[in-house]
Amino acid sequence: MSDETQTIGERDLQAWVDGRLSPERRAEVEAWLAAHPEEAERAAAYRSLSEQLRTHFDAVLEEPVPARLQETMAPRRRWRAAAAIAGWIAVGAALGGATVWQLQAQRGPVPVAQPEAPVIAHRAALAHVTYAPEVRHPVEVGADQEQHLVAWLSKRLGGDVRAPKLDAEGMALVGGRLLPRDPGPVAQFMYQCARGRRVTLYVRTEGPDQRETAFRFAREGNVRVFYWIDRKFGYALSSADLNREELLRLANVVYQQLNP
């Protein structure tokens, strides 16, 4: 056994098989393999195995996806709206994402201590993760039609909805959308800064017996949420990009603008 045997290990051999070596190391391993035909044969057999695996199982990629898997987005046991979701996958993302979002929200844990407020935080966070990563369709109605957007959402929510102006904070309105909720729909406004960081404001109507609340903070996964109730609306400001202090500052601006 030569010195080389010490320097080329099993790990190098496996990495050679998988094509994961740097060009320099690959050359060293190949030189070693040339001097060790038994090992070279073994390595070649491993490579051939990988090719056979791919050849054999790639056929699965060409198979049509069974309907039951597409329908999985609406797990059948727990929810009644399965048909709606299955339909959504065919229809498209805008409507369906919202439907799924609503169902998903029902699945999450609902803290007992504050029976109403955390639900808004949870749902706002889910709506945020659904739409904030969207590149092409982040909103239904863009900021270029802001008047129309606000009028439309006000009409659907049955109250005077306003989109706060956050330009002074470096956040421009991208637009908004309507989300389904029972009872009554919800509005979502999206803002974005020059660096592409996004914030969404979730607005829903509250029952007449709701009191005003202070700002509360919640965290859902990587999404931070400040939420509060003010007269007939509940608000939740969500972002995965802003830290807690930045988001709180923004929440204060939003609150002041909506309560002149």
Partner: protein, 165 residues
Amino acid sequence: MSDARSLVALIPRLRRYARALVVERGAADDLVQDTLERAWSKLHLFRHGTNLRAWLFTVMHNVHVNRVRAARPTDMLEDDMPELAQQAAQGDALVVRDLERAIAALPTAQREVLLLVALEDLSYDETARVLGIPIGTVMSRLARAREKVRASMDGKTGSKLQVVK
């Protein structure tokens, strides 16, 4: 793409891996279905900017491990194998049966590593994260899996490492 559409787009990849992992088509799709349901309910835990496919494999691994644990220690593979061998015709078909049989005969832990690396082309790092094991374990399982499959397809039990010319 939204998360939902990304998930839907990845279903064929999940099915391919599942088929290689559990062989039988219905059982493989059951695994995919459970994985999608679980992924869907845990989607808020997924970190954007990371690899959604690798994350889904993590979910599938957990689902699979739980199912294996809950199921009978020997699943249908044992029963199916003689039948598969008898069905084997000739030429390519025979090679395919041998391949499926050799993969199925691996311990689950080794099969997962081999499939994630060789079939799904995950990096060693990603594979380690998906399975929640150190990278050294990935490498040793990978080497053992490959050698077992090679020996089984060669019809040999020994390792060529010991052959001296």
